[in-house]
């Protein structure tokens, strides 16, 4: 990212390492400001005049703080002192955040990085946000994208060629039909020729033959097209899905699940239908346009010009007209959508509506939404019926000239134009009609191409993405014992915002560790790093002395068992879910794991035992049952390292007690790392790791930390106080003084 964007007035960019413009200062008033950084100083300029000058170490840390409508760069000293250096609208946030990261890096390491390594957040060409893309999908070279797309047809080139050939022959035969019509009109209809019935019969027969051949070609074309289309679609979806699962968590978390599903299904489907439908049509339509145009010009170049000349002007008008129609239909769709949402909302919440007595209000809201939807729809229809007939008339206006001048030629009233027979005119007008079909299609083509090229860019971006967490060539399959070490580890999900800072700790094999701290202290991040869902930004994590980046991901994750707060069960049976991490487990092993996890009993009571389907995300089981199935899954996995991330947080005390027994079995003799908000569940841990704002502040067993009266002690005290207050509230509700029942 370029952080040398604008020099202050009267200065040169070369004077600075970084220089960023800002636009707010003082009382949220617009200013022309620049924050410039040299090797020694941070200088704030307003309208070219130096306003403030700071040394790097005037502050302990620099940060970008996002307010509601703008952001500011602040310098901080400890927790209680900070100063606003400058403020800016949100478009500059990423650049200033990156600058803060660079200065903070200098403060901790003494190294002043001169170039930012993060990607530009926006496309330099169109200005649209790049989001998770490396290249703007709207500005990427269309030729390159489409050539990659067409290259995917290679395995099916034979079938594709058949489909094209069939369509081309069918188009050629279509050109023959008007010729037969011409002969019929000129030789048999005008003048009436009753003496040559054999010739008439031959012509009729050839028409039937043409129709027959066309039907056969259509059949072959459809068969070949479907073959290509279905296989190509399957290939694309398969490749995108496999690649998606192969991506690192940092790549995946930049995209939403909806976005990924869209890419696997919708975008791939769009490409599939474009390639086999429009791809083939493009060849055929253009071919047909050329052939028809050549025949027309050979027949009469003057009439051909009359048919073609108005088209470019008319096409421009029609394009605008289409856009207007589309906008009105879009508006109608939005109003109709709002109306449906309101209906859905009111009926879903009918109990609330009834209990609050707001039926009249809801009816009023509905009436208004319904009226708006009807009005918008009516307006869209009016616009459509005003524009569409007129634009279609304009597009085919050349036909009217052809008819007028052609008729004049038949009547020999235009000697300069030569003569025409009725059959010739009929044939010519058929060709003009055939000319307009591909033209209508061509008018829509740029829009379709743009749409498909965006889908293609999205799909190829996934297919061509290099995953940032990958196995090195010299990675090893390690038989893990369970010693883990964090050595000077720094990490941030966003490069400018480190979540873990300078973590140094050794975790010994077979012991249980609890990670505690406030929300956002970095507890789950530590676990994500052990699982190598992300790579550390700085420092290293070793398992049994081996850097985890040198251990193959499959080997690492197959020896780490994880039980999360929100257990995810896949659609399938209880048995399939338990054996998910070890599909080759024997049934005896499964039952043994289920017994250890205290879930064998409830599974036995289920109607279909281990073959009971758990439903979508395991909805047929209770939260505690799902959790126990997950523990059985982890036990069967037989991991060397166990990770428990709030494994019992969402459960009631009784269920938690039962599950704790299962967990105790699971953790015996294995290195266990647990996170729990209920600190009491961690009091048995051999050692506690206390994190505060991403830094490791205390370690040691519960008793030692309580005596130390530091961060852990305060956390425990705060939790006890909250629990007491909660209990008091419950007591007060259950036993009100006046004896009247308490309100819920």
């Amino acid at each position: 990212m370029n952080l040398l964007l604008k020099a202050p007035k009267g200065h040169e960019l070369s004077e600075y390492l970084f220089s960023l413009p800002f636009n707010l200062y003082g009382k949220a008033k617009k200013v022309d400001g620049t924050l410039s950084v040299t090797r020694q100083n941070i200088i704030v300029y307003i309208d070219g005049e130096e306003r403030d000058r700071y040394e790097f170490d005037d502050f302990e840390e620099y940060a970008c703080e996002q307010l509601i409508g703008c952001s500011m760069m602040v310098g901080k000293i400890g927790d209680r002192s900070q100063k606003c250096l400058c403020a800016f609208t949100q478009d500059s946030f990423i650049a200033f955040a990156e600058l803060c990261k660079i200065i903070n890096h200098y403060l901790t390491t003494g190294v002043l990085v001169e170039e930012s390594d993060i990607d530009e957040p926006k496309c330099p060409k169109c200005g649209l946000p790049l989001d998770s893309f490396t290249e703007c999908p709207y500005c990427a070279s269309k030729v390159k994208t489409f050539s990659k797309l067409f290259a995917r047809l290679k395995p099916y080139k034979g079938a594709f060629a058949i489909a094209i050939l069939c369509t081309v022959i069918a188009e050629l035969l279509n050109v023959v039909s008007p010729m037969i019509n011409q002969i019929l009109i000129d030789d048999y209809v005008w003048p009436r020729n009753q003496s040559n019935w054999a010739g008439f019969a031959v012509l009729c027969l050839s028409m039937f033959v043409l129709i027959g051949i066309n039907t056969l070609l259509d059949w072959a074309n459809m068969k070949a097209s479907f073959y290509v289309s279905l296989n190509l679609g399957q290939d694309l979806r398969q490749d995108v899905f496999s690649k998606t699962l192969d991506l690192s968590m940092s790549s995946i978390s930049k995209k939403t699940a909806g976005d990924l599903i869209n890419r696997v299904s919708n975008d791939a489907n769009k490409l599939q239908s474009f390639l086999t439908d429009n791809g083939k049509n493009a060849v055929v339509r253009i071919f047909s346009l050329i052939i028809v145009a050549i025949i027309m010009f050979t027949m009469d170049w003057r009439l051909s010009l009359m048919a073609i000349l108005p088209i470019p002007v008319v096409a421009l008008i029609i394009k605008r007209a289409y856009n207007t129609i589309q906008m009105y239909y879009g508006r109608s769709w939005r109003f109709s959508n709002a109306h449906s949402k309101l209906l859905h909302d009111a009926l879903d919440g009918i109990r609330v509506v009834k209990t609050c007595g707001t039926e009249e209000l809801e009816i009023e809201k509905y009436t208004k939404a319904s009226y708006n939807a009807a009005k918008a729809s009516s307006k869209a229809e009016v616009v459509w019926y005003m524009i569409w007939p007129a634009s279609d008339f304009l597009l085919t206006i050349g036909n009217y000239f052809v008819l007028y001048f052609g008729a004049m030629m038949i009547l020999s009233k235009l000697p300069a134009f030569g003569s025409f027979t009725l059959g010739e005119l009929s044939r010519f007008t058929s060709y003009v009609g055939m000319l307009y079909t591909p033209l209508r299609w061509l008018l829509q083509l740029p829009r379709q191409l743009a749409d498909v090229s965006v889908s293609a860019s999205k799909v190829f971006e996934i297919l061509e993405e290099n995953t940032d967490v990958r196995d090195t060539e010299d990675c090893v399959d390690l038989d893990i014992k369970g010693d883990i070490e964090f050595d000077n580890v720094y990490f941030g999900y966003k490069v400018y915002n480190p979540v873990l800072k300078d973590i140094n700790i050794k975790l010994e094999q077979g012991k249980m560790y609890g990670i505690v701290g406030h929300s956002g202290a970095g507890k789950s991040t530590m676990i994500n790093l052990i699982l190598r869902l992300y790579d550390v930004t700085q420092g290293k994590i070793t398992i049994d002395g081996v850097d985890i980046r040198k251990i193959s991901q499959e080997s690492l994750r197959s020896q780490v068992g994880v039980v999360l707060q929100e257990t995810y069960l896949f659609e399938g049976t209880v048995l399939e879910n338990i054996t998910y991490a070890k599909p080759d487990a024997t049934f005896e092993e499964v039952v043994q794991a289920a017994k250890i996890a205290h879930c064998h009993e409830f599974i036995t009571k289920l109607p279909d035992g281990y073959n009971t389907r758990v439903g979508n995300k395991g909805h047929t089981l209770s939260g505690g049952e799902r959790q126990r199935v997950a523990i059985a899954r982890a036990i069967l996995h037989n991991p060397k390292i166990i990770i428990l991330d709030e494994a019992t947080a969402s459960l009631d005390t009784e269920t938690e007690r039962q599950i704790q027994e299962g967990l105790a079995e699971l953790c015996r003799g294995r290195t266990t790392i647990a996170i729990a908000h209920r600190l009491s569940t961690l009091s048995n841990a051999d050692s506690l790791i206390v994190l505060d704002k991403g830094r490791l502040v205390e370690t040691g067993p519960h008793d030692k930390l309580m005596r130390h009266k530091g961060v852990y002690y305060e956390l425990v005290m705060a939790q006890r106080k909250t629990t007491k207050m909660r209990e008091a509230n419950i007591d007060a509700k259950e036993d009100p003084k006046d004896g009247a029942p308490a309100m819920a």
Partner: protein
Amino acid sequence: MDKEEILMEEKFEIDRLEILDCSKLEFYKDSGNFISLKYNGEDYFNVRLTRLVPFFSKTTYISVAYDNKENEFVELGVIKDMKELSEEQYKMIDEYLEYKYYMPEITKIYSIKDNNRGFIFVDIDTTSGRKTICIRDWYSNFRMLTEHLLYAVDVDGNKYCCNDIDTLDKKSLAILEIFV
């Protein structure tokens, strides 16, 4: 007061909307230009001022809060109407809130172009000058919050509003009509 009463008192302390007595509030700017507060003999560093109903009122129901040592959010109470503050205090708070909720007002719409891929480009005049803003997912980010209030959030997260679209000229309204 027995234990139960104290606990009940505690409960209501938490549940009640605490309207602050403006005469007891003494806001001041610290060395870093952030707003701090002296209240009931206590000093609260870098207080958090929030408009509770930012779209409907800029100067009433202002929450005053701070982060305690455990970094927990603690609300001291709510200023019901900033008019109850002294002129100097009012000015200080208003300036800060205008900063925090920086939101240029749309005064004219020149054009709206839809790129048919979920983005619109809106060429507008605002109280901070003319600008073309790019809006993603515009069904959500360019919409009427009430019959009169237009609200827009651009791709960078900058916010814009028009408190009453009826004050816009006819041409702006005609352009707007198709999109909201």
